[in-house]
Point group: C2
Chain length 340, copies 2
């Protein structure tokens, strides 16, 4: 399978129904509905249950799901943040029916984590502590929901004060808005992004050698031994996706880029990035890494990349896991002809 | 000319040299250099000079450029924000030369606008007051620089307090960072987006009718009479570009979308959006507008669109100006065959 696959964190199992965010009565009824599903976050980690395979390896991680009765006390606490995630698309009732599909909510609680875990009837549940690794073990179905919930909650945790005046803010619109409590604040006049969740666009790119048969991968010091990945960087204000690709590649590796082609994107909820995946064709080949960011960057021949992706017997390096857009860009390139 | 053109606000005439942002000595020397160029903002508007054509119509608007000597008093004021924009790519000296190309800086000042205008030797200079219209009159060369400067300055004006704790912040890294003044703030531990300029990704899409011969355009109440444009909306946390296109189109018009194809993007500095331009193929045709956002949406036959773009004798509607990505998406569609 070499084609572009559905990206992890990208499946939209819920219909966000953003129009309902200001419908207090509807939201209130959904909140109290016995079919509604609550997922619980502590310190930006979702409560999950991890099953172990018989051979001791870790299998999939599953979200712990709660009902209104299990969490209604938490909803009373002023420090709790509640976010309406949407309604389950998989359970849409027939058009004629008056039944509503289950609504999903995320709760962020500052209660003691051990106490929160006691609310779950399952054993082995936990709040994983290394999001970059642990959140990659979810099912595709749940990963998209976690991406949405964690990104919004991460915004609440970092943006509880008004950046325009420093006052406290209040949560509105079912968790998608924070309004300044100072009536005279500039943020109250007109529409301002300070009131809305932040999404940071990032470019991530596989740079192709002018010969078409090698690609540029780099590693940061913090990467596991042997791992090389695509270069990436934040899009700056007033910059296009394509210009950001050229700038970041040149900054990090010294390589100059010509044509840039958008391939696909991925939400990355650490905390709330949108990764814009591109192929980029190099027009120079000398490498000079920015040592503040990159430990090493190298041109890898296509065959070495194929061996690494398909786990040949002694691969020259390790590629990022399949859940990452870097992995998918690399696979996509392997699947293409050598000329763009 | 039907091909995709360079987007307004997208030309990178300056090399941002982001590595220099932490190089105090270099920045200091560039600031004081007699060849460096300063552009001046008041209330997020750049000082420009507007020439009038003989027939009374307004011609291009040009940025007023200042030297260090003209603005050094402003640089002393604590309320002034200074942003290093980059060095002029058009004036790159030969590789052997030790001369540096001119550095560009943007200054935001809260001095009285009339007083600021007196600093300029030209007559007819002003701070335009309707950015959505007035900033579209710049040359292509200057528009990209204004996009960068205005986006960063808009962030400073809205984000002068730490959103994590409400304390005041200090400008760092030549205008690309704000750090909390409270040493104990969580934002000081690790890297957090609260310290960096915000860029809001937006989808803007031309929706094509399943028959391939009509496109969906809508108008907001605030649009000039007769103007119809592409639908658009903010990308939400945990969402892909493609999912945002589907969601926003359905929310605003009731039309369901299948395939989505990214075409090109445009920075839109009102205040700091990144418009991701897409074509989207409708899989349903009934229109039901969200009256909170859209006054009217309609399917326009290709010939009517061609007449509107090329100003036929009595066009059925008005398209947005050529500086907008909406205009370019519409032109791009006209230039394509009817099957994607
Ligand atoms: N929105 C942002 N969030 C986090 N770090 C940012 C952001 N914007 C710029 N940075 C800086 O960019 C660095 C990472 O570099 P890069 O990903 O190559 O752009 C971080 O260590 C920060 O110094
Ligand atoms: N980052 C943002 N900046 C401004 N408005 C936003 C933002 N995110 C969501 N909104 C809301 O989205 C509305 C515009 O709708 P749309 O452009 O269709 O998403 C605004 O009136 C705000 O209520
Ligand atoms: Mg970088
Ligand atoms: Mg960067
Ligand atoms: Mg990087
Ligand atoms: Mg909308
Ligand atoms: Mg929206
Ligand atoms: Mg909209
Ligand atoms: Zn405020
Ligand atoms: Zn702080």
């Amino acid at each position: 399978e070499l084609g572009l696959q559905e990206m992890y964190f990208s499946r939209e199992t819920l219909d966000r129904l953003s129009g309902r965010r200001t419908d207090r009565a509807w939201l209130d009824a959904r909140q109290k509905d016995g079919n509604s599903v609550y997922i619980l976050f502590s310190n930006l980690s979702p409560m999950v249950v991890s099953s172990q395979e018989d051979d001791g390896t870790e299998a999939e991680t599953k979200l712990c799901r709660f009902r209104y009765e299990d969490v209604k006390d938490l909803l009373q606490k002023p420090s709790t943040v509640l976010v309406f995630l949407g309604v389950d698309r998989r359970k849409a009732p027939p058009p004629s029916s008056s039944v509503e599909p289950p609504a999903w909510f995320a709760i962020s609680s500052d209660e003691d984590a051990a106490e929160l875990l006691k609310r779950c009837r399952q054993t082995n549940c936990c709040f994983p502590t290394r999001p970059n690794r642990d959140l990659l073990k979810l099912s595709e179905e749940e990963a998209g929901t976690v991406a949405q919930a964690r990104s919004v909650l991460a915004w609440h945790s970092r943006y509880s004060f008004c950046p325009t005046c420093g006052s406290r803010t209040r949560v509105e619109e079912a968790g998608y808005k924070r309004s300044c409590l100072d009536q005279d604040c500039r943020s109250q006049k007109g529409v301002h992004n300070t009131c809305y969740p932040r999404v940071d666009p990032v470019v991530i790119m596989l740079v192709i050698h002018p010969d078409g048969n090698q690609c540029l991968l780099g590693r940061k010091k913090v990467f596991p031994v042997g791992l090389f990945s695509c270069l990436a960087g934040f899009i700056e204000p007033g910059e296009t996706v394509e210009a950001a690709v050229r700038r970041e590649v040149e900054e990090e590796s010294g390589v100059k880029v010509g044509a840039v082609q958008y391939v696909t994107c991925q939400p990355w909820p650490m905390p709330s990035n949108l990764m814009m995946g591109c192929l980029a064709v190099a027009v120079s080949t000398d490498i000079k890494v920015d040592e503040n960011e990159i430990e090493e960057a190298r041109w890898f021949p296509r065959q070495q990349v194929i061996d690494a992706v398909f786990r040949g017997s002694s691969p020259a390096f390790i590629v990022p896991p399949r859940q990452t857009i870097a992995h998918q860009l690399i696979r996509h390139w392997i699947g293409m002809t050598s000329n763009l």
